[in-house]
């Protein structure tokens, strides 16, 4: 990392084990810059929530040190860290009204009443719930409760807000709407957010940077577009977005590109990213929208015969599954434009792709 200002949060060699046998987090090093929206993304059990809990102070780190504004905080109890947090099921206090919920962090900070009211109103306005101060949490819809939870985590002006899968309980439309709202709040306030989710589209929508977790290790830490366009290993390529995998063996390396013999037959020229030497196994990663159907002969370095297995009409595009190079789960997205090729199941077609779009990564098997 070459952040010019000092990072707000720094994880240094953090390890965490619950039972003394298995490491849930293995040697984590991570910097979160001031004002950044950083998402920890990963499947369940990958250690992302554990990292968040260690940062919030609810779980002690087994080894290593976490720094907040360059101060070690391993021994600082949660209530002295001054970190706002939004919980998965909101954790609004049911016996208090919305305004009382928001007032709670201000009361424990011994703020006087006019100041409290000013901040509560400001926070409620921010989440467009100005009229809801007297409601009880039970009288709110899921989306409103979520907004109150966000307002409560921000009302005392923390430098850092943690969000633990805050949108998990909402339905799809509301979730997308809330993603934009949280993103705008983050942009307007300039607060630093560490966000945990297992939903990749959520992560791609909101984040400045995404840390993809698997097996207690950050697989890749990058801005959303890099993560999608330039995955560094097979796990990330597979986890983020739709991905075609072709397994094979490297037969020749030539500068930035390499030649791979695919297991089902066929020789592919690929962009070498994360590979061993000649003879090593590799996973070729190829986004479905980067594959052309029936290209002009010779226009692309990789052109193969394929057989159409399945067509799924999805409105804006047609998801076409073809069998190519012995892999019958190869997906091609054909845009539903006026001059798209009309295919039928069983057709023989040609598929082709560029060297840069086909990334040779570590062998995942």
């Amino acid at each position: 990392m070459t952040d010019s200002p000092p990072p707000l949060v720094r994880f240094e060699n953090i390890q965490k084990s619950y039972d003394g046998r298995i490491l849930v987090v293995k040697d984590l090093n991570l910097n979160v810059a001031q004002g950044e929206f950083l998402t920890m993304l990963g499947p369940s059990g990958s250690g992302k929530t554990t990292c968040l809990m260690m940062l919030a102070g609810f779980e002690p780190a087994t080894h290593g040190e976490i720094f907040l504004k360059d101060q070690p905080i391993n021994r600082v109890p949660p209530h002295k860290r001054g970190i706002g947090m939004v919980f998965q099921n909101y954790a609004l206090f049911p016996h208090m009204t919305v305004a009382e919920n928001l007032s709670f962090p201000l009361e424990v900070r011994k703020m006087d009443k006019p100041e409290r009211e000013r901040r509560i109103n400001r926070a409620l306005e921010m989440v467009q719930l100005g009229e809801f101060g007297d409601r009880r949490p039970a009288q709110l819809s899921g989306g409103q409760a979520q907004r109150v939870a966000v307002a409560r985590a921000l009302v005392f002006d923390p430098d850092l807000v943690l969000m633990d899968e805050p949108l998990g309980a909402l339905d799809k439309n509301l979730r997308e709407q809330m993603q934009y709202e949280i993103k705008h709040i983050h942009e307007n306030l300039g607060v630093t957010v560490v966000y945990v989710t297992h939903d990749q589209s959520e992560a791609l929508t909101m984040s400045n940077r995404i840390a993809v977790f698997n097996d207690g290790v950050i697989q890749q830490l990058a801005p959303p577009e890099d993560l999608y366009e330039k995955p560094l290993n097979a796990f990330v390529a597979n986890f983020i977005g739709e991905n075609n995998r072709l397994l094979g063996r490297i037969t020749g390396v030539n500068g930035d590109s390499c030649t791979v013999d695919v297991d089902g037959g066929g020789s592919v020229v690929a962009n070498s990213i994360n590979i061993g030497g000649e003879g090593a196994r590799t996973t070729l990663s190829l986004r479905p929208e980067r594959v052309a159907i029936n290209p002009e002969p010779g226009s692309l370095p990789n052109i193969f015969d394929a057989n159409v297995e399945e067509l799924i009409y999805l409105g804006d595009h047609i998801r076409t599954r073809v069998a190519v190079c012995g892999h019958d789960d190869f997906v091609v997205k054909i845009p539903n434009s006026s001059h798209h090729a009309s295919l039928e199941v069983g057709n023989s077609v040609k598929v082709g792709w560029n060297v840069e779009d086909c990334r040779a990564l570590d062998s995942s098997d």
Binding site: Q88, F104, P105
Partner: protein
Amino acid sequence: MTSATATDANPAGTGEVMTADGVPLRISLARARRRSRNRALLLVAPLFLFVLITFFIPILSMLFRSVENQIVGETLPHTVEALQQWDESGGDLPPEEVYAALVEDLRIANETKTAGKVGRRMNYEKSGFASLFRTTARRIKRIEAPYKETLIKAKKDWGELETWQVLKRESDAYTLSYYLAAVDFSYTPTGEVLKLPDDRSLYVGLFWRTIWMSLLITVLCLILAYPISYLLSTLPVKTSNLLMILVLLPFWTSLLVRTSAWIALLQKEGVINDLLVWVGLIGDEHRLTMIHNATGTIVAMTHVLLPFMVLPLYSVMKTIPPSYMRAARSLGATPFMAFVRVYMPNTVPGIGAGALLVFIISIGYYITPALVGGQSGTLISNFIAYHLSISLNWGLAAALGTILLVLVLALYILYDKIVGIDNMKMG
């Protein structure tokens, strides 16, 4: 298949919606609902009858018994009628007709052997009545006119104004004298209400003692049960199940066994006293009296009733997500403040249910105070039992029981007003 839809299949044109076969929808719906309602009623009928026969009817009969007084009017009908003409405050004995009526009534009573009963009833009002009626009835054959003179000669109580005043006062079919007795008041012979002197007052003190001891037991149960329930609700399931069994084990043990165990522990030569003497905290001659008094009752009842507090508390605490406490901590509250401001208010339904349960059970508790209560640790229920089974003054027992019932209902309503009964969670 007819083409008519539900709405236009209405020959009368009244605007009523009809079903496909022409029955008004409203009637058809009511019919369908009645069928399922009848089935539901049939299912609860056995329980309803059981509760009615074994619970409501006995309680109503008990309530009735606390005011019922028909025995005087039934056994001495002529006397009661003749007494109506007599002015009890005039200072004169009743006239000859009243005495004649009494003799007639007692003749019949002697044959039907009911004189003893009315004597026992009247004895609650004034001691001496039992033997007065018994002896007079036995000698009734020898009583001749003029009845007034011979009766007074046979038993000189018949010549006392008070005897007749009390008899006239209690000749109504209903009386409040049981209730007056239950709150340490009594009638004067002429029917004025008077507080009993302190040395004869008993029940009001007992009611107060019952209430404060029940309150103390409730508070002690709450103090003991709260941390246990918290532990149970936060431990992993495997450990908490084991602990729950430890909480419930005494619950499944016979009440007598548990109470006797407390006797073994607390008595003068018991384990605790022995231990204290052995350690040297108290001298052998100053052994503590911890049983057969209020202390014994409180200790044993707190132990017996503890599960009733633990179970509702536990069931409420289990539903409080740990994220509440975490949220409070992350918002800047110290652990203590998070507990007081966030955790505890959420356990109020459990506190309410447990406290109400323990209080209501202990206010009517009988066995434990009877065994370990001694003089200072007995409760009102012990006296109700005494009047039911030993003194056989069922009227007074019923009056005491009714007051207890009203007390509990009043507390229940109070609780509903303050906390709200909807907030209660039993389990």
